[in-house]
């Protein structure tokens, strides 16, 4: 498990990005629930932690793709592939993330960079 942040440092309606590779973000919804998903939009290189959080949905800050925080599913285009979801555990006021072992769906520009091709 990866320590993310103290729960007290993550107010409702906010997100905290873990700068791991690929980055993961923890969202604290207005209803007080915690969710962790891959931070990078599957459409293009954008940080979902910078996006518009509403209910259990986050909208990409650039092109308005929407992802369901509970399942990672795409609720609105242009994204077509889901983000991974990760388990969140809170212990003694600390937020931890248990990373998914599934393969991430990264946008084409990032996939190309990781493959050593042109970015």
């Amino acid at each position: 498990m990866i320590p993310a942040c103290r729960l007290a440092d993550l107010p409702r309606g906010e997100a905290h990005r873990l700068d791991i590779d690929p980055p993961v973000s923890v969202f604290h919804t207005d209803d007080g629930e915690l969710f962790a998903i891959d931070d990078t939009c599957t459409h293009q290189d954008a940080s979902l932690a910078d996006g518009w959080l509403e209910g259990c949905e986050v909208e990409c800050p650039l092109h308005a793709s929407k992802f369901d925080l509970r399942t990672g599913a795409v609720d609105a285009p242009p994204a077509k592939l889901p983000v991974r979801t990760h388990e969140v555990v809170v212990e003694d006021g600390m937020v931890y993330v248990q990373l998914s072992t599934a393969a991430p769906n990264l946008p084409p520009c990032i996939s190309a960079r990781l493959a050593g091709g042109p970015a």
Partner: protein, 386 residues
């Protein structure tokens, strides 16, 4: 309602078809499109697709496993709406009878009079336009872009990155002054000069020269700009000629209420062809943004299925983005309504500005250059009920 015809197969038409199924409509669904292609994403046509870094398959808007149970009539244009007979007539002679209609025929790029048939002159709206322009840009040379708006600026940025010698001509003294206001229009269009792209402002285009192929753009002040390729980016006009004589109210597109209802029962309009009433602004405002084509069909379909018996909500403020020279430009709201513009973060010179437009102290619009996080915060605030 047993049959709904969606006329238009781009983002607005697809979003309407999705809304119909999402809202429980299980009758026959016919989608008519004038292009031969399944719905595709247009914003990359002036950016990644034109640059050659994104292929055609990646433009598809539908997912692989998506099935809307629709009949797709593609590659055929709608030429008439017979409201009494509940029929849409198509250019190939076919007719589609339906109980409900969604008009989503979009807009077409304006052209330069007298440029027809001259090789090397392009507009950019469709996938076919983008393919043709991409092939020409790949050969290099001198590009003149007529119009300093977003499409023109994005093409200039892409062509610059491809190594072409680029000049942008804008008739107004400041490009983008309409959507962004004078001050910020100058800041954003300053990106051209930052990269050595020549920007000529405040002078109109008299015409083009060339026998079979364009060789120069002639300006009103007597100057001539040598050109191997010309892109005309002077705006778009709504595709509504086919509705003339149908009895539907037209005014800068299809005149609509705040939920897409038109003057005809069981007919709604969405996307670039639709001139919706904007309750925030207090007047009609035709929005040509991608996000409008994505989001507004939900409300229009609710109205269509309820046969007009729902109260229209207040849509989110219009939002659009543009990518130029590696800078993410984002804008939401109405610049024209503002009486002041203040820089809240970053700086104009640093090209990382976050500017807030206010009217009598209330935020009415926000502009961000490479400021996605702050921009989203302000955009949310604009959308909050007051």
């Amino acid at each position: 309602m047993r049959t709904v015809a969606v006329v238009g197969a781009s983002l607005a038409g697809l979003s309407a078809a999705r809304s119909l199924r999402k809202q429980g409509y299980d009758g026959r669904l016919v989608v008519v499109g004038d292009e031969p292609h399944r719905p595709y994403d247009r914003p990359p046509l002036s950016k990644e697709f034109l640059a050659g870094t994104l292929g055609e398959a990646e433009l598809a808007l539908e997912t692989d496993d998506e099935d809307l149970a629709a009949e797709w009539l593609l590659g055929t244009r709608a030429v008439g709406l017979d409201h009494r007979g509940r029929t849409v007539r198509l250019a190939d002679g076919r007719e589609v009878r339906a109980d409900g209609f969604v008009l989503a025929t979009g807009a077409a790029a304006r052209t330069l009079p007298g440029s027809e048939g001259l090789a090397g002159v392009h507009t950019l709206r469709t996938l076919d336009d983008a393919r043709a322009l991409r092939d020409e840009l790949a050969r290099g040379g001198r590009l003149v872009v007529i119009g300093g708006g977003f499409i023109g600026a994005e093409v200039a940025s892409t062509a610059y990155a491809l190594g072409l010698e680029v000049t942008v001509v804008e008739a107004a003294p400041t490009p983008l002054a309409g959507p962004l206001g004078e001050t910020m229009g100058a800041v954003v269009s300053g990106l051209h000069a930052d990269h050595g792209v020549r920007l000529v402002c405040g002078v109109g285009v008299k015409g083009l020269s060339g026998e079979s192929r364009v060789d120069a753009v002639l300006l009103e002040d007597g100057c001539s700009l040598p050109a191997d390729i010309v892109v005309v980016g002077v705006g778009a006009r709504p595709n509504v000629e086919w509705l003339e004589g149908s009895g539907i109210a037209l005014d800068n597109g299809v005149k609509c209420g705040a939920d897409g209802r038109t003057s005809l029962a069981a007919v709604v309009a969405v996307g670039d062809c639709a001139n919706w009433y904007d309750p925030r602004a207090g007047h009609h405002r035709r929005v040509e943004h991608w996000t409008g084509a994505l989001e507004r069909p939900d409300a229009a379909i609710a109205t269509l299925l309820a046969q007009g018996a729902v109260e229209p909500g207040v849509p989110r403020p219009p939002y659009f983005w543009s990518d130029q020279y590696g800078v993410k430009i984002q804008f939401a709201g109405h610049a024209a309504a503002a009486d002041s513009v203040t820089v809240e973060a970053g700086s104009a010179d640093g090209r990382d500005v976050l500017a807030v437009y206010r009217r009598a102290g209330d935020p009415v619009a926000v502009l961000g250059m490479n400021q996605p996080k702050l921009f989203t915060r302000w955009r949310k605030q604009l959308g909050a009920p007051r």
